[in-house]
Structure formats: C-alpha cells, structure tokens
C-alpha cells in the first residue's frame, strides 16, 4: 500500500477517535470528571445497532436512530444514578472510581447478554467505494466517517457558540456556582452534556464497528482510552482540539503500524502524547490557566 492509502486509513480511524474524543472533552470540560465508562457506551452502541439491524431487520437509518436514542438514555441514566450523587463529594477520585465501576458493569452486562465470543458486524454504510486515479481506493466507510466527523464538529461548535443551552454549558464549565446564580439549571446542563456525549459515542460505535467488523464486550475499552488521549492531546475541554487530536492520533497510529512496528504502534502513540504534553503541558489548543496564590 502506498503512503496515501495509509494516510487515508489514518484519517478514517482518527475521525472515529475524534468523535469519541468530542464526547469525552465535553463531559470533562463541564463535569470535570474522567468518564471511564465512555468507551463502554461505544460498545453498547455497537451491540444495540447490531441487534436492531441484524436481529430485528430494521433499515440502517432506523437502527442508527434507535442506537443513538438508547445510548443517550443510557448516558443520562448513568449520570443521574452514579455520578450526580457524587458531584460535591469533595474528592475527584470518588467519581473516577465510580466511573470505573460503571465501566465494569457495562462490560459484564454485555458479557452476560451477548457472550464473550466476537460477533461479526455488518457494515451500516452502503456508500460505494471511491477509486481515484485507478490506484487509490477510499472505502465507503472512510468517506462516511470523515464526513460525519466534520459535520458533527461544525454542528457542535455552532451549538455551543449560538444556542442558549450551549452558552449555559460554557458558563457551567467556567464556574458552576456563578452559573447557578445566573439562573442556569446546572443539573439539567450536565445531563444534556452527557446526553450529547453518549449520543456521539453511539455514532462512534456504529462507525467503528462498520470499519473494524468485530464486536466483543471489550471492544470499547481501548478506543475509549485512545480517544481520551486524543482529547488530552488536543487540549482537554476544547472542541477543535479534540478534532485535531483525534485525527493526529489516528494518523500516527496507522503510520507507526505501517512503517515502524505493528507491535509498538500503541507505544508510539503514547510516546507522542508524552512529548506533546512536555512541550505544551495543556495540549495543542489547551488554555494555560495561571495558578493564583
């Protein structure tokens, strides 16, 4: 394969990372918590869409809709039951460990319901592959992934900048107390953030499984961690940062696999993250907050 092919594969994988990272970064920016269960929502999204399309025989559009609705509800439920009671617990570690508990819970529920064996996934994408100059082939999955990633990023940016709810999110992320005094319903805003993040995770799950058609209860864990790395890479809390971080991470991973060593690809990805953070401790687009005495 040529360099260009690798590059396109990298952008495709990176777009999936970017979609997951967008959800991660929004939740982190507003709730200030690392949602370790985010990756497992992706996995649940994969299973739900598989059930809807293969078992129930629904059309792709309808199954995607159902998946997004189910995952959104799941995200809001997780936030309400497991995270909200701990919001003023005093230690950020408490909610982190609870998130880990939720992650185990989702993995084991999937394990019980669907079994440990990998399920083969039928691609939801029916866009034909594109061949340029007879050599370069771009699969339909790649086209859909990249296009939907860009659309999501633009819509999300507009939503945050222009809509009232988006402004409320910004306010809550800056200062919860002051936002509340201005009449913003903090709980509702955080729920909305989880809803959007989980809805994005559902889309990411469908796109990930369409491109890499094998689904196990642990499918979401590694992409979840990678997306988190991508979010940190681009500056956590920043939406364009998550996009850039995701794309870069995917490209580095695929190129590292192709040209250096397939086993060391993860080490290379993490190595680049460390170098970036050492040069710019808040990520590529992160804001540097000066500590006041």
């Amino acid at each position: 394969m040529s360099f260009l092919n690798y590059l396109i594969n990298g952008i495709s994988l990176g777009s999936v990372y970017a979609i997951i990272a967008l959800g991660y970064t929004m939740v982190y920016g507003i709730a200030k918590m690392l949602n370790f269960a985010h990756g497992d929502v992706i996995m649940i999204g994969g299973y739900v869409s598989l059930l809807a399309s293969s078992t129930m025989g629904l059309s792709p559009i309808l199954s995607i809709l159902i998946t997004v609705v189910v995952c959104t509800a799941l995200g809001v439920m997780i936030e309400g039951i497991a995270y909200r009671p701990l919001r003023n617990a005093g230690s950020p570690l408490a909610v982190l460990i609870t998130a880990i508990g939720v992650s185990y819970f989702l993995q084991n529920i999937a394990l019980l319901l669907f079994g440990a064996n990998a399920k083969s996934y039928h691609s939801m994408v029916s866009v034909p592959a594109l061949t340029i100059a007879g050599k370069l082939t771009i699969t339909g999955e790649t086209i859909v992934t990249v296009v939907s990633c860009i659309i999501i990023m633009v819509v999300l940016s507009l939503f945050i900048k222009k809509s009232k709810s988006g402004q409320a999110m910004l306010a809550v992320s800056e200062d919860k107390g002051a936002a509340q005094l201005m009449g913003i319903n903090v709980n509702k805003t955080i729920s909305l953030t989880f809803a959007i993040g989980s809805g994005l995770a559902a889309l990411a799950g469908i796109l990930l499984c369409s491109a890499y058609p094998s689904l196990t209860p642990y499918t979401g864990a590694m992409p979840g961690i990678k997306a988190f790395v991508a979010a940190v890479f681009g500056g956590i809390g920043s939406i364009p940062g998550a996009f850039i971080g995701g794309i870069l991470l995917g490209v580095i991973e695929i190129l590292g696999k192709a040209y250096i060593s397939s086993q060391l690809a993860d080490a290379i990805v993490f190595g680049v993250l460390i170098v970036v953070l050492l040069v710019k401790p808040t990520g590529i687009l992160g804001k540097n907050i000066q500590e006041k005495v």
């Binding site: 408490a94 939720v102 019980l112 993250l273």
Partner: protein, 357 residues
Amino acid sequence: MLKKIDKRTKNNFITYAMVIIAFVVVQILLASGSMSSLMKGLLVPLCVYMILAVSLNFTVGILGELSLGHAGFMCVGAFTSAFFSMCMKDVITSNGLRFFLALIIGALFAALFGILIGIPVLRLKGDYLAIVTLAFGEIIKNIVNTLFIGKDSTGFHFSLKDAMSLNMEPGGEVIINGPQGITGTPQDSTFTIGIILMLLTIFIVLNMIYSRDGRAIMAIRDNRIAAESVGINITKYKLMAFSISAGLAGVAGVLYAHNLTTLNASPKNFGYNMSIMILVFVVLGGIGNIRGSVIAAVLLTLLPELLRGLSDYRMLVYSIVLIVMMLFNWAPKAREWRERHLPKNLLKRKQTAKEGK
C-alpha cells in the same frame, strides 16, 4: 504531645498486629489442612496486591498525585528480577540469596524508572499527570512485549523483532522471548516471604510519612506554593516520593514474577486495568490510610472468589458492589443520611435493650 505520639504508635502497632495475626491465622489454617487449593494459590497474589495498594497510596494519598501507571513499575520490577534469576539460576544455587539479590535488583530498577519517568511527568498536574502515567505504563508493557534477549557464550543479544534475529550461536538460550515472556523462573516466592515484604513495605511507608521528608511531601500535597515559599525543594521531594512508591511496586513485581513459571506482560497483569484495580483498592480503603489500603486489597481480591457461587454473575455483582460502596461512602447525601440515621438506630437499639431488661 506525648499522648499524640502514643496514639500514633498505637495506630501503627494495630496495623502491624493485624498483618501478623492474619499471617498466624493462615498458618494455622494451612497446618490443619482446612484451606482449599484455590485459597492457597491466592496467598502470594494477596501479598502482591497489598504491597501494590500501600505503595500506590504513598503516591496518591501522601504525595497527592494521581498515578494510573503503577502496574508499569511492577512490570519493570518483575522482568528485571526474573531476568536476573534466570541468568543466575546456575551460578547462585542458594534460593534465598538469589531471591534476595533479585529483590534488590527489581526494586532498584523500578525506582530508577520511577525517577526517569518522574522527572518529566511530575511537571504536569492533575489529570494530565494521570494520563501521562497511564501512557508510560502502557509503553513499558508494550516494549516488554516486543523485547527479545538471549544469552550464549559470547554474551547477551538484544532484538526488538523476533527470536531469529538474535543471531545466537547454537546452544544459546532465549531468556526473554517477546510476547511469550520469561519461562522457567525459579519459584522462590512463598507466603512467608510475601508477609515479610508486606511488613517491610508498611514499615517503610509509615516511617516515611512521619519523618521530616514525609512532612515535607505532605506539605507539598496540601499547598504547593506555601511549601515552596518556606523553602521546600518541590522537585526533590516529589521525585523522592514517586521513586520510593515505584520501588515498592517493583518489590511487588519481584514477588509476582517468582510466583509464576511463565511471566509475560498481558493487558491483564501489567496493563492499565491492573493500575486501575490498585487505585480502586486505595480509594475504597481511604486515600492516605495505609491500613485501609491493606484491608481493601484483601477484601476486594477475595470478593470475586467468594462470589464464585454466582458463577457468571460474579463480576456483575462485583461492579454493583463497587458502585454502591462508592456512593454510600462518598455521596454527601449518603453521609448526611448516615449521620442522621445510624447513631439514632444505635440509640434505639440500646433503648429497646434497656426496656427489654
């Protein structure tokens, strides 16, 4: 003042006594033969987890930095010590001496990695530090998985590709075989050694906490800027705490490696899942509470085994127990509820007991 010191000594004494009593109870159970082979197999891993939990608590509770790469240091300790033991298998025949030397090597290498990783990492703060330690842990695991080292009469051969590219003479021995890891490590770990190392770990950590250095480290945790302004060298003390913690994780790694015949780095034993599991012990046991870490490590390791009767549902139940325990322990509302209801219930019980009389 005297009373305060007494209280602290008493508190420490309870921790040591608890471990020793547990040891004696286990020995009695072993001698009377009333322990299942499953439980016997769990004894050394229990010591490993306890040491890991106490050493991570030193980073998280005392230094106040969240580390998600603790399993990486354990991995370094495990592989360096197992490598040493494999090389010295025929040279040093005394098991005790060989294990002792392996222990020192494992701990030193892990501490060295702690310093090397600590220098860049400790410049970062909070969640950024957490993700970078996670990254380092994964890198260590990843590199160990691609490492091939062999030995023949001309010396050592290294490769990052496969066993063939070591270019060894016939008769040479592959010691670290990439993803297959190290096979044939002498099994020198016993429960007694585990408990001794465990006591040693607690001793080091508790003495460290109450020393001048320990107070400096805690001052940095509580207020970095204030600590710096009274002349505490932040970098030095942070590195000191981080490397001690890493070294102790290395000790756990040595114990782990010499308990198995085959040592390989899989996501299960040295991946971020392991680091997270240790963190769960620390947080559930109480951040900064050494005795709590020990108890939580034991309980949470035994819990899945005790739930074995539930077969497929056990990990599900484990996760629910974890979430409920966290909510009950930490949620402000649950705390309020406990304060309001629990003492009242106790009072009520006393009253009814009195009335019953």
